[in-house]
Amino acid sequence: MTPKAETAHWVAASVALLIGLLLVAEAIVGPEVFRRRAWRAYLFPAIVVASSVGLWIIVVFSTFSTMHLLAHALWAQAALVAGAVELAVVRGKLKSPNWSLVPGFALLVSGLAFLVHEQNPWLYSRSAFLHHAIGWMLVVVALFPLGQALRPRQVVWRAGFAVTFVLLAILLFADRDAAPIFGRYGLGGGP
């Protein structure tokens, strides 16, 4: 029995929310304090790698549409690469701030995948609206890791990267398989 798409998206939203809270907390206390306990330092990259495994499982079951299969495979690969690089950074194997370009690239590619695989216009359905909104958001917020690579000491990049995941969670939680775009406030669309 395969769960509905919205159920999988809510689970993804919960993971994004947890990642968002972790990153917001890290932005507040600073990486030195946050990484004082090893398990806490490894938590974010471990969750990202685990998410990529979850996404690969979805790829296996996404046989209903080649576009969705490819998009989920791309997100899974992006999460795997970003998680692996972050693991190496936490472990101390990679030291250059330029490595934050990798999560930035992962966000950019993920955003483009959202935009490319949604073939309907913004107001066609809630799903189409969310695909466009998430896609453009990810493309824009890819600038945060870029800023982190260029100006690693400025907290605004870290905070922006953290808030990205909270926004992503909100958008994913808004997903319904069948609902008007803005609920009872109008803009029908279907399904």
């Binding site: 029995m1 939203a13 917001v24 907390a25 304090v33």
Partner: protein, 100 residues
């Protein structure tokens, strides 16, 4: 000297210094509860999102994954698993380096 007028100097009792939490500590402590409140507010605003209140035609996944309850769950996980240790480490850091 008349001892009625010259009384002994009252000994100053050692007082506990007032604990003043930094905004960072407060922010960490508030993150989880605010998330929980957001989930509860969402559940109140959209009760049909809670399957237990509207059981018609629901499957096992609808019972397992109810969006507002997932938000509450994440908030609880952060409040009880992440925040306490983080606050402890932050306060230790602030005691060591009060200027920082």
């Amino acid at each position: 000297m008349n001892s009625e007028y010259a009384t002994s100097i009252p000994r100053e009792e050692a007082q506990e210094p007032a604990v003043r939490r930094s905004w960072r500590t407060l922010a960490i402590q508030l993150l989880g509860p605010l998330t929980i409140v957001a989930g509860i507010v969402w559940a109140v605003a959209q009760p049909y999102r809670i399957v237990l209140l509207d059981r018609a035609g629901q499957g096992i996944y609808d019972y397992l994954f109810q969006a507002p309850l997932l938000v509450v769950l994440v908030g609880i996980a952060f409040t009880f698993c992440i925040a306490p240790g983080l606050v402890e480490d932050l306060e230790a850091e602030e005691l060591r380096d009060p200027e920082g």
